[in-house]
Symmetry: none
Subunit: 204 residues, 4 copies
DNA sequence: GATGAATGAGGCTTCATTCAT
DNA sequence: AATGAATGAAGCCTCATTCAT
């Protein structure tokens, strides 16, 4: 039986998943590795067998959790066809779905904001791997749309990240005020798309 | 001499200002009251004379720092005149200036995101005092603009907070990536206004 | 009452004295600061109020304990008069008394041997403050004796430290085999002096 | 092939040799069995196959390393002929060579001093196997020399171990101050012999 | 025989909090 | 009011030891 070997191969991921939950619940500093261990059904020592320090657990946990975030972004973007308005619409829906609805994505954002100064490498990495590629895709579609005469060349096209801003608002809102006043994600997304399309588009 | 008395009266504020700097630098958990004391040129014991616990220091520090944020919002909003597009423009400029450029505002936002779950009252209070009033002002201008025929009734008008989203992006961007890639605040604000105006406005 | 202040001034020395006993009993690594604290009738935290780390406790303990070792060496050496044989005799008795009989001196030697590689500064300091000055005094008396025609110029006079060697043997012997076979310190000292005097002296 | 079997037979010695190096480097407590294992190119588990505990590893390592120290002492001593001064001279050279120059001997001495109280059996064993036999040989030669009229009956002859003391000084000196000020072993040995011969000998 | 994943007791260190002065 | 010495709970991390494979 490969029971032992199988367990071993899975241990790190199990620990990182447990760490995610605990860090989400308490933040970096207030999380005890002992609790992470208990949640992963191992002992403290086991964590240190796989990770050097608490910082490393956190760091690798964030990497682990954001690994699956946008693997298909480029292929998805490449698959887009038809009018640029339609492409942009599809891309926004695709990205907003991740940002606003995916729990791991939302909490990763919170981690970056809360602990970014302690983990500058993490911030760099996320900028390079997620922020910049996403912005580049938006930029590419918008520029294409301008070239095709579907969008107007406006000041906003110099800031393609602006397209992301409603998603960011949504994400932060659910973090902070989700329990107080829920925002209807679908309606908000629709509203954002409407606003952005009008804002970027040519006058009718 | 009132010097002594004046100093005494100023102590709490001095402590909270020192606390702000330390909490900004290290986050809630990693900040030592001893360092706060040193920065405020008092001793630990003095802090405990004015504040019951570290949590209270943090809580009151956030209140103290956000007190000055929007005292004039309502009077400013009431003073707005002329076409609604112009009013909205002015309001956006007014609010963006606070959100995106004011250090205390930016760090308060970070505190809420990072420590919000430990300080739910703080979140509630900020929602009631800042988020809701600001959104209400925007809502009021937008609704006025629709009634006046200056804006179209669009899905976005159901989410007046959407007007804030570029400012939020700007604020978070400077938190996270400010050292990596700076965004030109003025140009970004102009671009956002352009986008929002077109997005909300009637077709030409 | 200065009770508190008085205690405070004495605390560090009390802690270092307690540390000496514990480190003697268990060695550096096997000593728990908690036991040091208990012996000093304080708590662990108090030790850290006065000393940064366990290493510092050890380091300062050794300094503290060896401080009183040879304060009078130079004045004693200067006070020596009469024939050089007599001076050397007196100096040997003086130094052997310290090295072989003083518990703090013996244990300091053990600390240097056992933990020297972890505390190179300590070794340096003891070389400069104790070893070299003592050797210099011996060298000065021996050279004086040669000039005065009391001692012969022999190969051994190039190694004045050799005069210390019986004392060293005595010290190590009592460390290691003291419980097994005791050496009569007075008789051994006399024997050493006899040997050294004959060894350094002119043939009768 | 006996390769496998030979390796197996050599494992324990390889482990003890590795242990020697690590214990020398860090002392007993600060040495990790994991590092010993790595140096011996085995895993931790293997060490526990051959030795019950860390203490046993240390204990057997010291025995292993000091085994080869004086196997020929008695036969060498028996082979000595001629005048007793010459015999003593030869014996001193023989023993000093071991004590002062052999690394294993020097480090064993350090182990005994540093960890003796944790390993009293080790101290006993070394006393019985090395210290006493060596002293006995010196005693025998000195007593013979006195009977033969070559040495004078002096207080020092009651302490034959005194003959070892310069070697001890040399050994400790190289442990502690070897990197700071080297002592010329040959010259020091010559000086010691000169001193001892004069000290023990009859007046010319 | 050998491996190395897993355990868990134990020690160093930190720091919010207290309180005698 | 203010001080700062003292406390002690709590958490990170180490590593000797075990044992399933």
């Amino acid at each position: 039986m490969k029971k032992r070997a199988r367990r071993k191969a899975e241990r790190p991921a199990e620990i990182l998943d447990a760490a995610f939950e605990e860090f989400v619940k308490n933040g970096y500093a207030a999380t005890r590795l002992e609790d992470v261990a208990a949640r992963a059904s191992v002992t403290k020592g086991t964590i240190y067998f796989y990770f050097e320090t608490k910082e490393r657990v956190f760091d690798e946990m964030v990497r682990h959790k954001s690994r699956a975030l946008f693997p298909e972004l480029e292929s998805y973007a490449r698959s887009l066809e038809g009018p640029y308005k339609q492409r942009l619409h599809a891309l926004i829906v695709f990205v907003y779905g991740k940002i606003a609805e995916d729990r791991a994505a939302r909490e990763t954002l919170r981690f970056l904001i809360a602990e970014g100064s302690r983990f500058p490498d993490l911030v760099d990495r996320h900028y390079d791997e997620f922020v910049e590629p996403v912005i580049d895709q938006f930029k590419s579609v918008i520029d294409g749309g301008i070239a095709a005469g579907e969008f107007r060349a406006s000041p906003a096209t110099a800031f393609p990240e602006i397209v992301m801003s409603p998603a960011l608002l949504l994400s932060l809102w659910s973090m902070l005020f989700g329990t107080r006043r829920q925002i209807d994600v679908a309606a908000f997304t629709d509203a954002s798309i409407d606003l952005l399309m009008k804002g970027l588009g040519l006058p009718d």
